[in-house]
């Protein structure tokens, strides 16, 4: 079995940090930096418009629990429109 294809037997021992993404859609002006840079690629552009007429980021469906709490979105957002909140009791890999 090639190394990379194997499923490790001790995955339950490995915890990874988890975050809950919070998006203030009305602050967003649709620059898409967060979408571009999210290392887990869990964000996409909304179909709706916000009050100011922009598309804003939303979590891809099924990826709601995939945030790893790296906070990069928070750092790149020019408008303080996205945050992540640490989820205690971290998830498995």
């Amino acid at each position: 079995m090639a190394l990379a294809q194997r499923k490790p037997l001790n995955l339950e021992k490995f915890k990874i940090p988890r975050g809950r993404v919070i998006i203030f859609e009305e602050l967003c002006k649709g620059c898409e930096l967060c979408i571009e840079y999210c290392p887990k690629q869990i964000l996409e552009l909304s179909e709706d418009y916000n009050e100011r007429g922009y598309h804003y980021p939303v979590l891809k469906s099924g990826m709601e629990d995939e945030c790893i709490y790296c906070l990069f979105c928070q750092e790149v957002c020019p408008d303080f429109a996205i945050f992540s909140e640490k989820v205690e009791g971290e998830g498995h890999g």
Binding site: M1, R6, P8, N10, P17, C70, F72
Partner: protein, 653 residues
């Protein structure tokens, strides 16, 4: 010039083909020959004494020995000359064994004539021989050990304890090599880490050892006594001097990947140590899997968690230049990958694993905490079929050799499995059991008799899946019957192969490897730890499959060779070196390009450009001599004049 010719019978090796009496009479007639005699074994003590006495008695000035190849006894007879007060370079050896009697056994007459020709040619060359004195250059009494497995560790410790500095270069993030992956070791069942870890720690703390892990040797120049080595340190993205090994970075790292050290049966993070006892205990970031790349840092979790601020994503690779006098190659081995064994379901079925995979499952610090579990579903197997010689002793696939250690470790595996799962069934397919080592046969017998393990002599033809189980089809050659065994797990013993970076390293070292990629020794029996490149020694499985005790023994042997070399402050080099005739040289530089050792450069003095040879670096190979259009370069002891007259003598008549 008063030449003495001595003709050896080599017992019957030469004398049964070549007519030595006729040869003696004819050789005696040659110009400048004042004495000629034949003798049964010239290499024997009385034989050498005979030569010595004749030199003194008859004032002989030059000697020809017609005997076996100079690579066997050249040194013996050179010393004989010295003991009689002659310069050792006034000797020529006519090889009338390998190049005559052995290859012309069926044509003795022609062989005898050829033997005379070979003596004439030797005489022609000897006519222009000059006495030479060895060069003495200062020796750098520090050693480089390449590879930090048990062999490299042992060699480094022995040299360091002998009082000399050692640079130990290991390409992985930790010392230990394969031994660190093993659970318990045959034949004593010592826990592998328990006996290895203290040695790794000793290396790390030894004041004479400079340890470079996650590093490789990039280039080597120079020769014995004076090697210049460039070491490439790969970036770990963690400063070794700051990291405290606290593990805080690992907890926050969001990336989980299979751990190579656990053969992919366990996981690790993108920032990791390969195993808990790693030395040095310093984390490494695997940038390929890390969310960050060289260009963009998106995740700073580890950076923020690191108290001592050891993490540095901007770290670059670094080159370090060192000088050493001797090198030990201890780069170990690899196993052929499972994918290369499709007949056994390798690469196709998750529960067909290698012996090394099983070591990780057996290891208390392994992914399952020492419980043997099937990779497919994590269940404990109720039966295991072991397949020996998977790829070894298989000339059709280019590996005719025996991998040597598999019989022993399979017996060990059977025992450890039976102790863990007493009701479990074990079947072992083998060709024959090779257990030649101290207490080895007893070990295997104990398993056969006490553990109720079924040894089946024969080969497996096929492994396939049937529901949750694997089916092994084979032939029991003792009963002649085909056997079909349903089992939960199959463990193959893959052929031991040379380490895959070995070839590149051999090129850097300019030292030969054999057709299988293992490093070659100068003489398999009498000089097993020396490579043909002087000053480069071999230790462990880099040379051929070996178990731990053999690897350690050879490592200590190689270290003692280095210590013997270092017992002197200067080193004598063969004076067989290229010499430039400045008058003939035009400074064209062709020799500079031809020299494989970088020993020549063009210099300019008083408006004249010419080539200059660094005698300490030159190996006397003669490439430059052959390339020089102006015949301006000669290699001492093999000058153009000597070689041409030798060839002329062969072609005459």
């Amino acid at each position: 010039m008063r030449v003495g010719v001595f003709i050896c019978h080599c017992g019957r090796n030469i004398a049964s083909v070549v007519d030595v009496h006729w040869l003696k009479n004819e050789a005696a007639k040659l110009k400048n020959v004042v004495f000629c005699e034949d003798y049964i074994y010239l290499c024997s003590e009385p034989g050498q004494k005979f030569i010595c006495e004749k030199i003194k008695e008859l004032n002989l000035t030059h000697i020809i020995v017609a005997a076996c190849t100079p690579s066997l006894h050249g040194e013996t007879f050179s010393r004989t000359l010295e003991s009689a007060g002659l310069n050792r370079y006034l000797l020529e050896i006519a090889n009338i064994r390998e190049q005559c009697s052995w290859v012309h056994q069926n044509t003795p007459k022609i062989a005898t004539k050829k033997a005379l020709k070979l003596i004439e040619a030797a005489l022609a060359k000897l006519t222009y021989a000059k006495p030479l004195t060895p060069l003495r250059v200062p020796m750098i009494r520090k050693a480089l050990v390449i590879g930090g497995g048990i062999a490299g560790i042992q060699a480094a410790l022995d040299i360091a304890n002998g009082g000399f500095e050692v640079y130990l270069v290991e390409k992985e993030p930790s010392l230990g090599g394969h031994m660190a992956q093993l659970s318990e070791t045959f034949p004593t069942l010592d826990c592998s880490s328990c006996i290895l870890t203290p040695k790794m720690v000793e290396v790390a703390h030894h004041k004479n050892i400079h340890l470079f892990t996650y590093a490789e040797v990039k280039n080597i120049e120079g020769t014995v006594g004076n090697f210049e080595v460039t070491i490439l340190k790969k970036p770990r993205y963690v400063w070794e001097d700051k990291c405290t090994g606290c593990n805080d970075c690992v907890d926050v790292c969001p990336v989980i990947v299979p751990n190579e050290f656990d053969q992919g049966l366990g996981a690790r993070k993108a920032i990791y140590i390969p195993f808990p006892q790693a030395v040095p205990l310093v984390y490494t970031i695997d940038l390929e899997n890390c969310l960050n790349s060289k260009k963009l840092i998106v995740c700073e979790n580890c950076f923020k968690a690191c108290g001592p601020r050891a993490i540095d994503f901007l770290m670059e690779e670094e080159e370090v230049k060192i000088k050493v006098g001797a090198i030990i190659v201890a780069t170990g081995y690899d196993l052929i990958p499972l994918e290369a064994l499709p007949e056994y379901g390798g690469g196709r079925y998750q529960d067909v694993i290698t012996s090394l995979d099983l070591e990780r499952l057996l290891s208390p610090s392994g992914p399952t905490g020492g419980v043997i579990r099937r990779p497919s579903d994590g269940k404990i197997p109720k039966s295991i079929v072991f397949i020996q010689c998977a790829g070894s002793r298989d000339p059709e696939h280019g590996r005719p050799y025996c991998s040597k250690i598999c019989c022993m470790y399979t017996a060990k595996h059977a025992l450890l499995y039976k102790h863990a799962v007493p009701e479990g069934k074990v079947y072992i397919f083998y060709i024959d059991i090779r257990a030649a080592g101290k207490r080895y046969e007893e070990f295997v017998q104990r398993i056969v008799e006490e553990e109720r393990v079924l040894y089946l002599r024969g080969k497996v033809s096929k492994v396939f899946r049937k529901n949750e189980k694997l089916v092994v089809l084979g032939v029991d050659t003792l009963t002649g019957r085909t056997v079909e065994i349903e089992t939960d797990m199959v463990v193959v013993a893959p052929a031991i192969i040379s380490n895959n970076g070995g070839k590149a390293l051999a090129q850097i070292l300019k030292t030969p490897i054999d057709e299988f990629g293992f490093f070659t020794e100068i003489h398999p029996k009498l000089r097993p730890v020396e490579s043909p490149a002087i000053g480069i020694y071999l230790a462990g499985a880099a040379q051929s499959p070996k178990d731990i005790s053999e690897s350690v023994a050879q490592a200590s042997a190689a270290a003692s060779k280095v210590l013997a070399l270092f017992s002197q402050k200067r080193i004598a080099l063969e004076p067989i070196k290229a010499e430039v005739d400045v008058k003939l040289c035009k400074g064209c530089g062709i020799c500079v390009k031809t020299c494989p050792f970088g020993a020549i450069k063009i210099i300019k003095k008083k408006k004249k450009k010419y080539a200059q040879v660094s005698k300490a670096v030159c190996q006397g190979c003669g490439s430059c001599m052959g390339a020089c259009k102006f015949r301006a370069i000669n290699v001492a002891h093999f000058t153009l004049k000597q070689l041409f007259s030798q060839v002329d003598a062969l072609l005459e008549g």
